[in-house]
């Protein structure tokens, strides 16, 4: 069965420091992978997605993610974190291509220290 694991429930980084949020997936076919961000009281906003091609994908707000098939990972990175990046981050995989439902990880809460 398809699944997504985000090993870190909470992460705290200092403003200006680099960030990496981990995501591992289990899926038998070529995965369609996504990172979403959720601010308190808000819906989910898409940061970036991987369907095929270049394994390093760029997203909004300065985020990027790298797809590594050998490690079944899709980690999210940002070189310099801003206080406004504090939020909850979800990794997700789409079933049966990119028209199916999203299966989400349990999320990582990012806290940014001034």
């Amino acid at each position: 069965a398809q699944s997504v694991t985000q090993p870190d429930i909470h992460i705290t980084v200092s403003e200006g420091a680099s960030l990496e949020l981990r995501c591992n997936y289990s899926y038998g076919a070529t995965p369609y992978l996504f990172w979403y961000v959720q601010s308190p009281g808000q819906g989910l906003q898409l940061l970036l997605k991987y369907f095929s091609g270049d394994t390093l994908v760029q997203g909004i707000k300065g985020f990027e993610a790298e797809f590594k098939r050998s490690q079944s990972s899709f980690n999210l990175r940002k070189p310099s974190v801003h206080w406004s990046d504090a939020a909850e981050y979800f990794c997700a995989v789409a079933t049966w291509g990119n028209t199916g439902k999203l299966i989400f990880g349990q999320g990582t809460t990012l806290q940014v220290k001034p």
Binding site: G43, L44, T99, K101, I103, Q106
Partner: protein
């Protein structure tokens, strides 16, 4: 372009009562999704519509949950009777083939069952 609209934003009910949530997707989006997000977890798909037909309702607790999408536009999700464990945020999302099936999420309805 207007986003996905949901109402109400908050609802508090007692167990065994009924409740209904409404979703208006982005204009022209044929696919509509309802997700349940329990505190501390990632969203979980309850039901997916393609126009006014159900594509996937495998995780919908059909003894108490129902959903409809008349005329293939707006959708309503109902719970009757509610249980304590139904306390969650209910997210609606929509997507289109023309938009590469990227899902756009509404702000959600936070349900508290007492």
């Amino acid at each position: 372009e207007a986003g996905v609209a949901q109402s109400p934003r908050y609802k508090i009910i007692e167990k065994r009562q009924s409740v209904a949530f409404w979703c208006n997707p982005i204009s022209g989006h044929a696919t509509l999704y309802w997700y349940q997000q329990i505190l501390g977890q990632g969203p979980k798909l309850l039901i997916q519509f393609q126009n006014n037909g159900v594509v996937d309702d495998s995780q919908l607790p059909k003894d108490r949950f129902s959903a409809e999408r008349l005329k293939g536009v707006d959708s309503t999700l109902k719970i009757q009777p509610a249980k304590l464990e139904d306390s969650a945020v209910y997210l609606c999302a929509s997507s289109s083939v023309q938009g590469n099936n990227e899902q756009f999420f509404g702000p959600g309805t936070r349900l508290t069952v007492l």
